[in-house]
Amino acid sequence: MAFRIVHYINQFYAGIGGEEKADYKPEIRTGVVGPGMAFKGALKGEAEIVATVICGDSYFASNMDEAASAIIDMIREYKPDAFIAGPAFNAGRYGTACGAMCEAVSKEFGIPVISGMYPENPGVEMYRKHAWIVETPDSAAGMRKAVPAMAKLVLKLLKGEAVGRPSDEGYIERGIRKNMFYEKLAAERCVDMFVSKLKGETFETEYKMPVFDRVDPQPAVKDMKNAVIALVTSGGICPKGNPDHIEASSASKFGEYDITGVNDLTSETYCTAHGGYDATYADQDADRVLPVDVLRDLEKEGVIGKLHNKFYTTVGNGTSVANAKRFGAEIVNRLVNDGVTAVILTST
């Protein structure tokens, strides 16, 4: 049986109209519409477009969350094995809509999602981590080139075949690292590269050094006497026994624990969940990582307004930047809602 694909296009490619119809609300039609015809040939009967979603670019841009969730509901009954959006070429709003729908569908159904765009389409930078985006020319004149490339890649993904490098497969680099076994030991590869660099020959690094977000430190807290201070740590301090099973490495969650009435963290009551440092001294006295005792003293002395009655903890060890960002955003929301005015972050 052929794989089932749902296709997403905008109002223009559906033949409904141009800019004047860009507020067209999402609808789904059974079978192919517009460029879906070209895919039909390229998919060679191995996969079939079972339904086509049509949505106006302006409508999607102005109602992203609402449109995406409405479309997800429309798609569900068609039980797709894969999702194709576009190609959007260099159309910015269309590209963004294609990328956003790919992300939403991938999250909801966990199926392969694929689009086609010109590298400078803003949708590329926004969604390349979430979708396979085949590189296309900048206008619809490139349809004949885009469709076979997209069809080829989607079939590969549907069959579970290994996808090669971007330059070999024709998609835009997603920035996702994938393991593979090489012919040579990593040590030999390293010495090979070393020799090339010494000789001034060209070589290709296996990993381009990342560029990080740098966060400027906030200005000092002026009014300490009225500050509500919270403790947040990546050092893994948690109630003894690690009740929420925060992982020793590569954490998937953070913990929130109440310290109302707790003046001192002891080896009977607290420990660390962290698997990446010599935890002996943290297990003996968790205040060494999460200084509750000292902050209680400062609270008593009136140096600070008060210590927030909850602390937040996770394990920084091997935890991905994506997870860390997610934890950070969620923790900050809770702190702000609770009226916390300053935070002490401790790491290990």
Partner: protein
Amino acid sequence: MKLELQKLNVKSLKFGDKTGFSDGVLAINKAELIALISEDPMLGKNIDADIAMPGESVRIMPVKDVIEPRWKIEGKGQVFPGMLSDVETVGEGKTLVLSGCAVLTAGKLVRFQEGIIDMSGPGADYTPYSKTCNVVLILEPSDPNMDKHDYETACRMAGLKAAAYLAKSCSGLQADSTEVYEMPKIRDAMNSYPELPKVGYIYMLQTQGLLHDTYLYGVDVKRILPTLISPLEVMDGAIVSGNCVSACDKNSTYSHLNNPVISDMLKRHGKDFNFVACIVTNENVTLADKRRSSSYATKLAAMLGLDGVVITEEGFGNPDADLIMNCRKSEQLGIKTALLTDEYAGQDGASQSLADSCPEGDACVTAGNANEVIKLPAMKKVIGYQEEANVIAGGWQGSLSDDGSITVELQAITGATSELGYTKLGAYTL
């Protein structure tokens, strides 16, 4: 300095009346081995030894260290100096190697920071130690409340003792093969191959405390200043591992003894470059130590007039800062670098792989993304404690299924992303 490695090729293991080697088979007197290990009062009464062969449906965990059996049969000192034997300098004479054989220290967890070795199935493809004939020690502390540092020391020493004992018991036999290594004095090395660039190896060692420590002639490496060492000393066990936390990228004692960067650099010495020196340095936790050690290690490279260095990291996250300092400072001194590391890019591979970076690190080889998830099917036999999969680094609550399969990140597999480059794993960008 000249060292001859006399290798006996171990193809099979068996328990027998007398420990010794014949026709590719290493026989082990189990009672004698256990009696030797049990001399340590820090270890408990239920010590056991077992055998695991390549291809068998066997899982060993939690693994602390892997050691290749070696014993010096000629020359100064003895293997694992300062640990097992006297502090005399090693690296000269003749050393017997039980090639293809390894001692594994397993048994009760020190702290949830140890590794998994599967002898067959998909997990076996990722660890170099599924290809060795393994003598496994199953250890426990004599007191369950023993200080963890003491128990770790006892496990480490048990492995070294067993490895030396096995090799010693096979001395006096005709070697299956012999490898001869020679390192000239630095003065002579400097005058050799004037047309070739002079290069070195900056050998970074993990030094951050319990299960994060490394020893050089018995000295805790966090207490050293970077120093020079001959590759031949490394082959005699001058560097001993005390770490296995996130076991994928910690250098086992076995991988130090067989350091593939050293062996590849020796192979290309005199052809592509003049390999002059090996510099060992540490990865301490404080910023001052990181700055001091990176400045000192690269200063040594500059004093020697090196044109380039290969730098290998041990571990990830915090030590990425040491790696980058060593790289940047070398390049600023006009010394070209190639880096060997591994990656923590998240389970989906979409996050940054390193915790620090610099534009000078333009020649970087990686041993793969340690966060990638693998399913290890159930094995017929488990040596050790399988339930620890739920708590060890790389696992999570629920990693061990009822059917005995284990779903973990590669970081839980011993040696999977070895930053000495002892595996063929790597990564590419989708």
